[in-house]
Amino acid sequence: MDSEPTTLLQGILDMLILKSLVVGEMHGLGISRRIQQITRGTFAVKPGSLFPALYGMEEEGWISSFWGESETNRRAKYYHLTKAGRKQLEVETKRWGRISWAIAQALEAS
């Protein structure tokens, strides 16, 4: 229902961030490394894209943040998924499924 157009790339990044947070709360660097890990190194998210996405998603209410301590006892800002975030992940996943299927079809059709 929510038809706010999200650009494809933005959508992928948001989806990957949401996905990486499914396992639990994480700070920015953790998210970045987690994405690298789950995409087997295909996506290396630079802070220049990561932080704008995080701030935007927090304002959308998909994730929320708090200040905590990192594994090396450093103060770090942690993010975790909200209920709306989980819903959004579902929406994005479905959408991505459709898109990737359509693109695969298109490429095969030639």
């Binding site: 935007g56 209410g61 090396t72």
Partner: protein, 880 residues
């Protein structure tokens, strides 16, 4: 992004951006350090690790900048989306949108219009530099506390010499002049002022110079309007000569166009010291409280400090001049307060009323939105089941309300333009600053603010309620939310009725005051009476006989000629026209009685009149006789008193033949020859005061208002009378030509204006309340069609249905009325100063508005009730 969060995020951006920035700063910093740690763990040297980390991060400031851009872009993007969606929704329901926008426009327009006047009169500073330091100083009676507001010239001179609080002090007094040496002789109002006058106000002439720097004493500064009228705006007017009361003055300066001090009637300013000897005598008398004083406080002196130091000076003068200054204190009032203080109550009440109209408009729009939410609940339910958060839905609904409010605000501004133009023309012109009311950024900002306030106010409850829809409830047609919606709209309607009742009561009280004021018997006949002011210039160094023939002789000759004109019934003259606020209070003694203290000394209002004044004005004689042609300057001095005075000092006897004595006007000892009925002299409101009439044949005065009683339209005689005046003295101007009826009407212009404006607001309120009741009942009936159908099918009579629906609306109406009566009871007390002849709890008005409101509410619910009674059970049961 939901509006609430957007607003939160915007607020964060606006108000706590430093905190957000710090947050971001710290986060990016910790990210960088964690990268370094990671690299170190990977075995890099510290330097390498740092370099690699910075490389990956891509610059701390760049990252922060990207975050900022993203947030702002996001915000604007989703706002635009919400607006587009909202506009589409509003376009889909043009009827609803039109009614809501019109309703809001009425409320917002009324507020904007009244605010523009309130702003021009009360809020905007006076047009003088550092006007907040301008203060009026005036004497007051230490024993009674009565404020005279003026002082004597010698006291003013002492204040100037002794005070340390004022940078400058200036005295001024109104004076009428006959202006000559210009295109045509004319009577103008001017001010005699002390030399620092323009310096104290901080305004210098546009052209030429002020009076202070003039070497010549016989100099005059002209107003812009007099200069354009008499000199055709000729810049060479500076240095030219004009005559004032026959004396030559040199024009030294022209004031800028907007300069109006002390009021808009003042058209020229001359030095006190330039006046003839007979006026000088007036200015050397201590105790002659003729002068107003305005002063400019020094920058570091506060009003209380200045007040305290002036009290010391006044105390010194009391000791030094006990005869004249005993009991005289000095009171300082801010000039702004002095000028506009008396309009504050009325303007605030009007502003409050406009505010109530807006509240009612909001309540009305709320009910409309609630009814509409009913038809939208399926849409909202589906949206929420598809994952839209509650905040998201509230935000969307609020965006729609704000769009409505914005449209209402724009239309309201247009309405306010029209209203303001009407108000400025129609409002009594004696309200200072009112003509300067205009559209400006302040006003537009006010409109924008109240529109936004209104949008949130009327949108919040329906949005909150609407967002609670769940898909479940949406699919079940009449869920819990339906009941809640109608409860909310009931609250709105009760509010509307209560607020309307308050407004109606206030308007009713003002209206009744006005009616009573119009019905006051002034004690004389006002119709077919023409009034013309004829001011004879004093002339210097003449004998008493010459003065008599120049003044009274002139008037007698003129009145004789006028009475001979066709269409004239009779013609007389008076020094002080009634109902114009003009009184000449004077103390007198009564032969054979001793008054020990000043406060016991009898006082009365002295009225110098032509010998046939009572006949012309049709004031009845109670005993004795009127003045006659036998009362001449050579016969014994006589006086006629009014009933109030007679009752006060001769309660048991006829005062005819008694003697009174007064020094004012050189009257001396006079025999009372008659008692006449009371008239209202100063104004219509005050009860008649003691009055003494003296014949102008015995007490000549150079300043009379002619009263011509005519058979037909009084104004048609003006050219003939003008000709007679010119025939006697070609240099004699006439002024202030009006019928007494016109003067009476303009004396009630302010109450009329207030009552009309408040009445208009009350009318709008009543209309909106009626629409509110109608809308709510129509909605209720449509929702209950099925239930009503069943009841009718089961044998309920249609009359019962009518009763059921009307009864329901009456219950709400009565609840609103009870609340409104309580509110009105609390609020109308604030209006006491505006009321005349009625108390603020006048039972007639309270009853009348209650009946009126109930009647209108009944009528408004009758139409839906009749529809309910006509429900066809078969159709009703089938329709769902």
């Amino acid at each position: 992004m939901p509006l609430l969060e957007k607003a939160q995020s915007l607020l964060r951006n606006l108000f706590s951006s430093r905190r957000v920035e710090a947050d971001l700063d710290e986060e990016v910093q910790s990210h960088l350090e964690m990268l370094v740690e990671e690299n170190l763990r990977a075995g890099m040297s510290l330097q390498e690790a740092r370099r690699a980390a910075r490389l990956e991060l891509g610059g701390v400031d760049q990252v922060k900048e990207q975050v900022r851009e993203q947030r702002i872009g996001n915000w604007i993007h989703s706002l635009a989306f919400d607006c587009r969606y909202g506009l589409r929704q509003l376009r889909k329901n043009p009827g609803f949108t039109a009614v809501a926008v019109l309703t809001l426009a009425l409320g917002i327009g009324a507020n904007t219009g009244v605010f523009s006047i309130l702003d021009a009169v009360l809020l905007r500073p006076l047009p003088y530099p550092h006007a907040e330091r301008l203060v009026k100083a005036g004497a007051y009676d230490l024993t009674s506390g009565a404020l005279y507001g003026t002082t004597s010239y010698p006291d003013f001179v002492d204040w100037c010499e002794q005070n340390r609080s004022f940078a400058s002090l200036a005295a001024y007094e109104d004076k009428t002049f006959n202006l000559g040496g210009t295109s045509q002789p004319e009577q103008v109002k001017g001010e005699v002022v002390s030399s620092d006058f323009f310096e104290a106000l901080g305004i210098q002439p546009d052209k030429g110079r002020s009076l202070a720097s003039a070497r010549n004493q016989q100099t005059v500064v002209l107003s812009y309007s007099l200069w354009s009228r008499s000199f055709d705006s000729n810049p060479n007017a500076i240095g030219r000569s004009i005559t004032l009361d026959g004396y030559s003055y040199e024009v030294v300066g022209i004031m800028p166009p907007g300069f109006q001090f002390p009021d808009s009637e003042a058209e020229l300013w001359v030095l006190i010291t330039s006046l003839r000897p007979d006026f000088r005598e007036e200015i050397t008398t201590r105790g002659n409280l003729g002068f107003s004083v305005v002063g400019r406080l020094k920058p570091d002196v506060t009003l209380p400090q200045a007040q305290a130091s002036m009290a010391v000076i006044a105390h010194g003068l009391q000791q030094q001049y006990p005869d004249s200054n005993r009991d005289l204190g000095v009171r300082l009032v801010l000039l702004h307060e002095d000028l506009v203080g008396k309009f504050r109550a009325a303007l605030l009440i009007l502003m409050g009323s406009a505010g109530l109209v807006l509240l009612i408009a909001c309540a009305n729009t709320s009910t409309l939105l609630l009814a509409r939410a009913a038809s939208r609940h399926a849409e909202i339910g589906i949206r929420s089941s598809l994952g839209a958060s509650r905040r998201r839905i509230i935000a969307q609904l609020l965006t729609e309300s704000l769009l409505l409010a914005a449209a209402g605000g724009i239309l309201g501004t247009l309405l306010a333009f029209a209203l303001m133009r009407a108000l400025v023309v129609w409002a009594p012109q004696d309200i200072p600053g009112i003509s300067s009311a205009h559209v400006d950024p302040r006003m537009l900002m006010f409109t924008a603010l109240i529109s936004m306030f209104a949008g949130i106010l009327f949108g919040l409850a329906p949005a909150w309620q609407g967002s609670r829809e769940s898909l479940n409830a949406a699919l079940k047609e009449s869920g819990r939310s339906g009941a809640e919606r109608s409860r909310l709209s009931k609250i709105m309607v009760v509010t509307e009725i209560a607020l309307s009742l308050v407004l109606l009561t206030a308007a009713g009280l003002l209206g009744k005051s006005l009616l009573l004021l119009d019905r006051v018997d002034p004690g004389f006949r006002t119709d077919h009476l023409l009034t013309i002011e004829v001011y004879r210039s004093m002339s210097n160094g003449e004998s008493a006989d010459a003065i008599w023939s120049n003044w009274t002789g002139f008037y007698q000759q003129l009145l004789g000629r006028i009475e001979a004109l066709p269409g004239v019934e009779s013609a007389g003259a008076t020094l002080a026209l009634p109902i114009q606020g003009q009184t000449w209070r004077t103390v007198f003694n009564i032969d054979g009685r001793v008054f020990w203290s000043l406060s016991e000394q009898p006082q009365a209002d002295a009225r110098i009149v032509s010998n046939n004044y009572f006949e012309v004005m049709k004031i009845p004689l109670r005993s004795g006789r009127y003045f006659s042609h036998r009362d001449t300057k050579d016969s014994p001095h006589v006086a006629v008193i009014n009933e109030t005075l007679a009752r006060r000092y001769w309660p048991q006897e006829d005062p005819k033949g008694r003697f009174i004595e007064m020094s004012a006007f050189g009257a001396g000892r006079c025999e009372i020859v008659g008692v006449v009925a009371d008239i209202r002299q100063a104004n219509l409101i005050d009860e008649p005061a003691s009055g003494i009439y003296l014949p102008y044949t015995q007490e000549p005065m150079p300043w009379q208002t002619l009263l011509v009683r005519t058979k037909n339209d009084p104004m048609s005689l003006v050219p003939l009378i003008r000709g007679e005046v010119a025939g006697l003295d070609s240099q004699q101007p006439i002024a202030r030509i009006a019928t007494l009826d016109q003067l009476m009407e303009s004396s009630t212009a302010q109450p009329r204006f207030r009552a009309a404006l408040l009445g208009g607001f009350a009318g709008v309120a009543l209309l909106l309340a009626a629409i509110g009741v109608y809308g709510m009942m129509a909605y209720a009936v449509s929702r209950r069609t099925r239930e009503i159908g069943i009841r009718i099918a089961l044998g309920a009579r249609r009359g019962n249905m009518l009763k059921l629906i009307c009864g329901q609306s009456m219950t709400l109406t009565l609840l609103g009325v009870v609340l409104g009566l309580a509110g009105a009871f609390a609020v109308t007390r604030l209006m006491n100063s505006l009321l005349f002849g009625v108390t603020s709890t006048d039972p007639f008005i309270f009853t009348a508005v209650t009946v009126l409101l109930c009647g209108v509410a009944l009528l408004a619910s009758y139409i839906p009730a009749r529809r309910a009674a006509r429900v066809d059970p078969i159709v009703a049961l089938r329709c769902e």
